[in-house]
């Protein structure tokens, strides 16, 4: 059964550094999402992406964040200048259609020191 994959599983970075989190969605998925989960808190929506552009973004997704699908397979989340409060689990998800169930990757744990 196809799965969403994410790399790396754990990323440790210094405050102010740029990080790129990578996701490989299931091949027939067209809608892509990033969510984050700060330890002990609710899962929060960051951004949705369809047809090579952002469909919706939350207030969290400020100018420090960007997403792209550079080669038709990878889906990346970039944080330009990380802050301590960016430490969280970041999940990529995808679906075949907008109303399809969203299938999640295993997550990337980001630790900002």
């Amino acid at each position: 059964e196809p799965e969403v994959t994410q790399t790396p599983s754990h990323q440790v970075t210094q405050m102010g550094q740029e990080v790129i989190l990578r996701c490989v969605p299931i091949s027939n998925h067209l809608y892509f999402y990033w969510y984050r989960q700060i330890l002990g808190q609710k899962v929060e929506f960051l951004v949705s992406f369809y047809n090579n552009e952002i469909s919706e973004k939350s207030e969290i997704f400020d100018d420090q964040f960007s997403v792209e699908r550079p080669d038709g397979s990878n889906f990346t989340l970039k944080i330009r200048s990380t802050k301590l409060e960016d430490s969280a689990m970041y999940f990529c998800a995808g679906g075949a259609s907008g109303s399809d169930t969203q299938y999640f990757g295993p997550g990337t744990r980001l630790t900002v020191l």
Binding site: Y33, F104, P106
Partner: protein, 115 residues
């Protein structure tokens, strides 16, 4: 704005017992979807069950079933014959039908199955 509330931070039951996790939501929408996701200690987010609001019949997946009460805006998850592998955080999530399909999440219920 939609909100999802899970009022039970933690529950524990004996193996083989039945347990029900509660979820309520607030929305003015008529067309939407509801989900239960499981997050074991590995922190992977795994779909348990999905319910479309337009369907009156409650969804079931093997030992997992829901009680969907649209008028009461309630969406509880029942786990029958609970197993040790069911130990996890369980999240209720809401998705509105429309242009944008973000999931809105509850705070989660930590379920512990005791041997």
């Amino acid at each position: 704005a939609q909100t999802v509330t899970q009022s039970q931070p933690e529950m524990s039951v004996q193996e083989a017992e039945t347990v029900t996790l509660s979820c309520t939501y607030d929305t003015s929408e008529n067309n939407y979807y509801l989900f239960w996701y499981k997050q074991p200690p590995s922190r992977q987010m795994i779909l348990v069950i999905r319910q479309e609001a337009y369907k009156q019949q409650n969804a079931t997946e093997n030992r997992f079933s829901v009680n969907f009460q649209k008028a009461a805006k309630s969406f509880s998850l029942k786990i029958s014959d609970s197993q040790l592998g069911d130990t996890a955080m369980y999240f209720c999530a809401f998705m509105k039908h429309g242009i944008n399909y973000q999931l809105i999440w509850g705070a989660g219920t930590k379920l512990i199955i005791k041997p």
